[in-house]
Amino acid sequence: MATAVLQPDTLEEKLVEEYGYEDHFHEHHHGDKFQSNFITTYVFSQDHKMIAKQFLITGMFWGMIGGLMSLVFRLQLGFPEESLAWLQPILGKWIEINPEGIGKLSQEFYYALVTMHGTILVFFVLTAGLSGTFSNLLIPLMVGARDMASPFLNMLSYWFFFTAGLVMFFSLFLSTGPFAGGWTAYPPLSVLPEASSGSGAGMTLWTISLVLFVVSVLLGGINYITTVLNLRTKGMTMWRLPLPIWAFFITAVIGLLSFPVLASAFFLVMFDRELGTSFFLSEIFIGGKALDHVGGSPILYQHLFWFLGHPEVYIIILPAMGIVSEVLSVNARKPVFGYKAMVFSILAIAFLSFIVWAHHMFMSGVNPFISNFFVIFTLIIAVPSAVKVFNWIATLYGGNIRLNSAMLFSIGFVSMFISGGLTGIFLGNSAIDIQMHDTYFVVAHFHIVMGVAAFFGMFAGVYHWYPKMFGRFMNETLGKIHFWGTMVGAYAIFWPMHYLGMAGVPRRYYSFDVFQTFSHFAEMNKFITVAAVLVFGFQMLFFINFFYSIWRGKKQTVQNPYGATTLEWTTPVRPGHGNWPGKIPAVQRWAYDYGKDGKEFISQIVPLKEGEHDGGH
């Protein structure tokens, strides 16, 4: 692969050779260094495409663990009377069997499961698994770069993530159990080792794991930003970037500005835990005994945490938005509607994400007058979000739509984002939040808008770019069954939760036995649990499809199977290290020339005709 393509076969290769940029990459045998043996190809790989697959498969592993955890606590919530003794072989002492032989989930472990489910899904699956996978795969391919700015740091980014996962995984097997104080790790539960059984060693490992994770995100983000700003190919101006790249770029910027703040909060938590300082602790009694912690403020932790925490939801959703914008446009055979408005709305969301954090703290004793500012900025986020939704729908309008799995998931994303976004308007109001806070209404809201929606974006990306990763397609029939099962099932899980929440059913409770007011929701809770089990089953279909298709999927035979305009489809079917065998393609036009001048699509590498207007400018 060290030699250039001497006889170009396809139109794409001819164009790359004719107009491309010669960087003498292959004269240096760079590929050898990265793909010489098994270890450097598959394990300690510095190739962005392999690192993307590592992120994806590790993310899928964690998705399975986090999903199974939710099934266990859903069983508890849906069927509190049933015996869970059959789970004892897996969960061991966390299933307490009484003399009558009825097995109950340990209450302590219930909280641990809820905490771990949140931590794993938010950080390991939807941050690393989503933005880690697609930023790595698509940024160099779509901007026309050989690899990331620093392939070595990129490799480190994955291995820090892997180690973070390893530490967290280990904490699941501690005799005192993993951390159980909620994924937000509020003090005092996170700071006092004696506060609960998970607050000791479990919390220590949780903090170590998350600090490693922050390092991973920062190393990745530094690379994504540098690559987008410095390594774009000739002709690739910022206004010619495909929307996923804009989304990944801004996501990395948000991550780089907010994750260090989380690390800061964790440093202070560690000082409080290990050195006995009192940043977050004040006048605490445990078991009637006063501790010598005085003068700290637990609210301070909440400020620091949510200064990351709110941008974090955009770190999760922006990459999904970028992926969906691209998939919708390609499969509607239409340019994305309002390209610049899409970019500006990403920028607006990113900016606003930093000045709304206290809407997570309306009920934490924040001054109600200060809350007003946060209400207003929170509600303003509806404007760029609505711009995006309008543009997605307008992109679909009048399109020549191909309803493949990726497209279905993209349309499903828009549906979920609307449903979940609307309830955000309720919760963003501090007055309504008095009733709604910490109820299932909140659970329904964020699961739909940043859980299911982000997963839909991720699935759309996996189905769409699977050929780029493995040179084969996933099975379409299984993909469609996966979509409809997940779409209907996810609404079946989360829609009823709105009613629970409006009736005041609090989240995180182990059982509602003693509350007469909530007893009529027992059947609804059963329904939700059954739906959750079914939806998990549909995800198994995705797993089977994914791994089966790596070896047995339909082969990709043409370079550009979807008739897309972007650069990743100008590489060979299975791109080697350096992505293009000869020159780097030069970009001549924006990324969304579909249905122009009577042509179905015009690739970004086709020169503009004389007098032709470039769409992006």
Partner: protein
């Protein structure tokens, strides 16, 4: 052999991608200190806050680290003009000043304790220990970079290559960054008192 690619990359970009990546990383690290100092302000505003003067050694140490930045810059200029001995001498001096900064910071903590502000007394003192401690960790990273630069300078024959120039520039950039951070912290604490 990678040089020609690097030069071409620089030809296309005004700034080397790796140097740019370091700048982005510095912006990210700044956020740690922005968070710490804003937490400091929020906590200070809510009362029960012990007031005490900073140990003098912290101010003296500001001079030490600023001076080390100046000598390091001098060393870099000498390196570019291929004045080998001046380059090595100033580099060693910078490294020495850097290590002196660490030692004096530890002395600063001891002075703080002697003044009657030990750890765990009041968050106002704890913040000083925590923030200067996190800063010190960043300085240790800078000292590692300077140490490697010095080892390369003394072990290998002097040669003015673009790769070495880039590495030196990156070490220097980072050192200026931790220097600037400390100046920011000292100014911040002085204004907050």
């Amino acid at each position: 052999m990678t040089e020609s690619i690097m030069e071409q990359e620089i030809g296309r970009n005004k700034i080397h991608p790796k140097k740019f990546a370091l700048l982005v990383a510095c912006a990210s690290m700044s956020m740690v200190f922005a968070a710490q100092t804003s937490a400091y302000m929020v906590r200070q505003a809510s009362g029960n806050w012990l007031e005490f003067p900073l140990p003098n050694i912290f101010f003296f140490n500001t001079l030490v680290i600023v001076l080390s930045s100046v000598t390091l810059h001098g060393s870099y200029l000498a390196f570019k003009r291929a004045k080998e001995n001046l380059f090595k001498g100033l580099l060693l001096l910078s490294l020495f000043l850097g290590i002196a900064f660490v030692v004096l910071q530890l002395q600063g903590w001891a002075d703080l304790q002697a003044m009657g502000v030990p750890l765990k007394l009041n968050p106002s003192g704890d913040f000083i220990y925590a923030i200067s401690g996190i800063h010190l960790a960043h300085v240790l990273g800078g000292i590692t970079a300077l140490l490697i630069t010095a080892i390369v300078a003394f072990m290998m024959p002097f040669k003015l290559t673009p790769a070495r120039k880039l590495r030196f520039e990156m070490s220097m950039l980072y050192w200026h960054f931790v220097d600037g951070l400390w100046v920011y912290l000292i100014v911040f604490w002085t204004l907050q008192r």
